[in-house]
């Protein structure tokens, strides 16, 4: 009789970037169950349907288990790569030989790509790119779809990656294309509980969205709007608040924003002649003084002033005048939301913000603004993502509901660290012109300050567009034209992919496939053979999250940790079972590649910076550490020498209480945020001549210091037969295109009436003679087509077609996922016309017609 081992092993989920803390029940070496870990604030013991299904991903018989080499030199969609199994030694020999050649010629020729689904991919990949010397790394559609606008605005205004309402104290939350607290994304499981409790408490929740699904279905009110018109609605609401109701938080605007900065006729700040600091009008002394003059009583928000012969007005005064054009009646025409609804929502938001009120928490009297405007992928997934998000953010700004009790909270922009070590520590600081610089950020570039635009020297062209994180040119149909225009001195010669499936995650597959075919050598580290794998030359079998180690699955706190009061938690991810077959964790593989390439010194140096390793925990540059040793040093650096990886493997997580100054931090820090974007004047002035010199179409409408509504290409389609707006939403059952191969989640998707269908407004459908369950083609004005099954519903805008992304796999190596759902991204153009000329965001709404 054999003995039975029975253990619960603490770790972290990896089926979405939410990365909730879990416990795996392992019996005799077999994982039999996954639960949430109640010891951690990240999830708080709760786990979604995706999380519990991880067992099926771990034991998926269709995973790749051995290194593979392509034998068919032809590449294309539907072309069999002719895989042959090879040894790790053979695989790494070939990979290193190809990468060494690239490294010697020009390291920028290496194009790196990582998934956003597995947040543990970020550190090892980013650090490898830095060590190798390539700036060409992206998240395969991540950023273009979800964050170039939203994360930028969240960073500029809240020093954080994302926003939530202060659920325990908020009384009025208005969501624009967001689902925080409703089953998806950052801190999903904790936010679900917080949002549910808030609704029970009576928080009114208004959801502005073309589709009534995850957030809207639980909301007090659903406000359907035409896709891509969020800025019109939000600008009209702000107009009503500040011009019709005459409501704003003067103290907040004067002290925490640049609303009082004096603006000259050229749109720029008036500056002190010696210090060059922006000036404000001191209403006490009746003179212009630097914004940070300690003797300044209050900077004026209105009026006009003569300063050294120049007429100037406070930024807020200009903003108010600018907003007058955005009437509710105008916004109704753009967004389809009735004018009276817009006025009512604005009035409700302004009243509920309770400007001037305070609340005492732990002996500290704090501003109390129980209203919050929250925005994410739906609002930001457009060419006009910057202004869409900025316009919505102005709702929070004018009433001062920013990182105070009850308002819109950034995810943990302030951390004073563990009480015993003071780490991890980061705090926003005042940068140029007193505007806030984040204490921590997730990806380059920082939200502020912006670099000067320059002739781009990266594949994404980001050098010319400093507001952009990622750019469509990494996989666009016109990438060669764009690169040629800017004389990019190299082309990608090799690609290193970690877990991403860019064939499906960027835009239409034909365009992406053509860009991949031009790359001479592609190596992909993945757990399965995906549509992308078919373009690889070498595939390396990855260990999945349940077989892997990571000392920072939830870093950074601004990315993926519950907001609000409560505990900080720092969990680790650790293997609950050993990797099967020949699978190896990607971080270890990257270290071996670095060693073979002779760039270990570089890799260690980058790790030191990335992990902020100090003192005895710094990596010696010449020492070949294992990934576990690197993780061990990070943990000891943050939590003391007695709490290394062995301590964390046993305990799983360390927690400590948050401080009020960390949560409701805005009153405690002397930083300002820009309600007037003066920097856009300079950026446009510097970028435009470079663009024009290189023959790039330029639209300065995107560079106004004050936000506008700018139409998407879909809004300008003239052919009336294309009469519906297609958009995708993030299905809570699935994560991007990663989970469709999981049989439990696939079953849930098949049972759900929406997941694998095309949602069409029932009235619209009947008018067109379409019926429930009918198979139809969706056709774009560019001739792209996808086929799917209609689901008639009242829960979608009459002009909308809602599709759960990112389904519709076709790879034979994904037998569960294959043929399920609709591949929405196939309808998206990836080119300059559909790219924002300010932050390089892709437009994700598309004008369609239904063809039976």
């Amino acid at each position: 009789m054999t003995s039975v081992t029975d253990r619960w092993i603490p770790s972290a989920c990896g089926l979405c970037y939410g990365t909730c803390s879990i416990r795996g029940h392992v019996v005799d070496g077999v994982l039999v169950k996954i639960e949430g870990n109640p010891e951690s604030a990240i999830g708080g013991g709760r786990l979604c349907g995706k999380g519990v299904s991880g067992i099926m991903t771990l034991y998926d018989p269709n995973r790749v288990d051995t290194p593979l080499r392509r034998t068919n030199p032809m590449k294309g969609i539907g072309i069999d790569p002719g895989w042959e199994e090879i040894t790790w030694e053979e695989a790494l020999d070939e990979v290193v030989e190809r990468l060494r050649k690239v490294h010697e010629e020009d390291p920028r020729k290496l194009f790196m790509q990582r998934t956003t689904t597995n947040s543990s991919a970020e550190g090892p990949l980013n650090c490898f790119a830095g060590a190798f010397g390539t700036p060409n790394i992206w998240a395969a559609g991540g950023g273009l779809h979800c964050g170039n606008g939203a994360h930028l605005i969240n960073g500029l205004f809240h020093a954080s990656w994302s926003l939530v309402p202060d659920f325990p104290n908020c009384n009025y939350a208005i969501y624009f294309g967001a689902s925080k607290g409703h089953g998806a994304g950052h801190v999903a499981n904790t936010n679900i509980a917080l949002a549910a409790d808030a609704r029970v408490r009576g928080m009114k929740m208004v959801v502005v969205d073309p589709m009534c699904n995850f957030a809207s279905a639980k909301a007090t009110e659903w406000v359907p709007l035409r896709p891509g018109t969020d800025a019109a609605l939000a600008l009209a609401m702000v107009n009503v608040i500040v011009n019709e109701l005459g409501v704003w938080d003067a103290d907040y605007l004067a002290t925490k924003t640049n609303a009082s900065y004096l603006i000259g006729p050229d749109g720029r700040y008036l500056r002190h002649p010696e210090t060059q600091k922006p000036l404000v009008w001191d209403v006490g002394r009746d003179e212009a003084v630097p914004y940070d003059d300690p003797c300044c009583a209050t900077g004026a928000l209105g009026g006009e002033y003569l300063v050294r012969g120049v007429r100037a007005r406070p930024a807020f005064s200009l903003l108010r005048d600018h907003l007058r054009q955005f009437t509710p009646e105008w916004a109704e025409g753009v967004s389809s939301v009735p004018a009276e609804t817009i006025s009512r929502l604005a009035r409700e938001f302004a009243v509920e913000a309770k400007i001037g009120s305070t609340m005492e928490i732990e002996g500290k009297t704090l501003p109390y603004r129980p209203a919050a405007a929250i925005y994410f992928r739906g609002a930001q997934g457009h060419k006009n993502s910057v202004y869409n998000c900025l316009a919505i953010e102005l709702l929070n700004q004018v009433v001062g509901a920013c990182d105070v009790v009850g308002g819109a909270l950034g995810f943990n922009p302030v951390s004073y660290g563990h009480p015993e070590t003071g780490k991890p520590r980061y705090v926003p600081t005042a940068g140029p012109d007193g505007l806030m610089v984040t204490g921590q950020w997730v990806a380059a570039p920082l939200p502020y300050p912006f670099a000067d635009p320059k002739v781009p020297d990266t594949m994404s062209l980001s050098g010319l567009f400093p507001l952009g994180m990622h750019g469509t040119a990494m996989a666009s149909s016109d990438q060669e034209d764009l690169w040629s225009r800017f004389n990019l001195p190299y082309r990608p010669e090799a690609m290193l992919n970690y877990g991403a499936n860019s064939l499906m995650s960027v835009g239409n597959s034909e365009t992406v496939a053509e860009t991949l075919k031009r790359i001479p050598f592609i190596v992909s580290i993945d757990i399965a053979l995906t549509e992308f794998s078919a373009f690889a030359d070498i595939v390396l079998p990855d260990a999945c999250y349940l077989e892997s180690l990571d000392s920072r699955p939830n870093a950074f706190f601004i990315f993926n940790h519950p907001a609000g009061l409560g505990d900080w938690s720092w969990p680790v991810k650790q293997p609950v079972v050993e990797p099967a077959g020949q699978r190896r964790p990607a971080p270890e593989v990257l270290l071996e590649i670095a060693d073979r390439l002779g760039i270990r010194e570089d890799y260690n140096a980058v790790w030191n910076v990335y992990l902020k390793l100090e003192g005895p925990q710094r990596l010696r540059l010449d020492t070949p550490y294992t990934y576990e040793e690197i993780c061990d040093r990070e943990l000891k650096c943050n939590f003391g020498p007695e709490r290394g990886i062995d301590w964390f493997k046993e305990h799983g997580v360390i927690s400590w209480p948050k401080r009020v100054e960390e949560v409701y931090w805005r009153p405690f820090l002397d930083v300002r945020v820009p309600v007037y974007w003066e920097f856009m004047v300079s950026l446009e002035e510097k970028a435009r001549p470079i663009a024009r010199e290189h023959g790039l179409d330029w639209d300065d409408a995107y560079y106004s210091p004050l936000p506008r509504w700018l139409p998407c290409p879909s809004h300008e389609v003239a052919d009336p037969s294309f009469d519906l707006y297609g958009f995708y939403y993030r299905d809570t059952i699935h994560t991007n295109g990663f989970t469709h191969e999981n049989p439990w989640l696939d079953e849930a998707g098949r049972l759900d009436p929406f997941s694998y269908a095309i949602a069409i407004n029932a009235t619209t459908a009947r008018r067109k003679g379409l019926r429930e369950g009918q198979q139809v083609w969706l056709e774009s004005v560019h001739g792209r087509r996808v086929r799917g099954r209609l689901h008639l519903t009242e829960a979608v805008h009459p002009e909308g077609l809602g599709i759960g992304g990112c389904a519709g796999h076709w790879a034979e190596t994904l037998p569960v996922a294959r043929g399920k759902g609709v591949f929405f991204n196939e309808l998206l153009e990836v080119d300059w016309e559909h790219t924002s000329p300010v932050n390089l965001n892709i437009d994700t709404c598309v004008k369609l017609r239904v063809v039976p």
Partner: protein, 96 residues
């Protein structure tokens, strides 16, 4: 002092390391100026965004400890034995 070029800087400099003669009281910025002149405009642009304004993402290490641009290139009474230079445009930072 030996200066080692890490990451992309090795490619720009065309070499892994260089020997630099240090004057008394020299700062890191002084050394960067010397290197910028020695290895051409591309290398200099990777170090400086404007004259004497160092790129945000440039990291400098003296004897493997991170240093700031105004630091003297001495450790104890003698010049540091080694300086490492690294540019990290793709790694997130922020201010602590």
């Amino acid at each position: 002092m030996t200066v080692k070029f890490l990451g992309f800087l090795e490619s720009l400099a065309g070499r892994r390391e260089a020997r630099v003669k240090i004057e008394d009281g020299a700062t890191i910025l002084d050394v960067l100026r010397l290197l910028g002149e020695a290895y051409g405009s591309g290398f200099s642009a990777a170090l400086f965004r404007a004259p004497d304004q160092v790129q945000t993402h440039l990291r400098v290490f003296l004897n493997e400890e991170e240093a700031s641009m105004t630091d003297c290139v001495t450790r104890g009474d003698a010049p540091a034995a080694r300086m490492d230079l690294l540019v990290l445009p793709m790694v997130a930072g922020g201010s602590s």
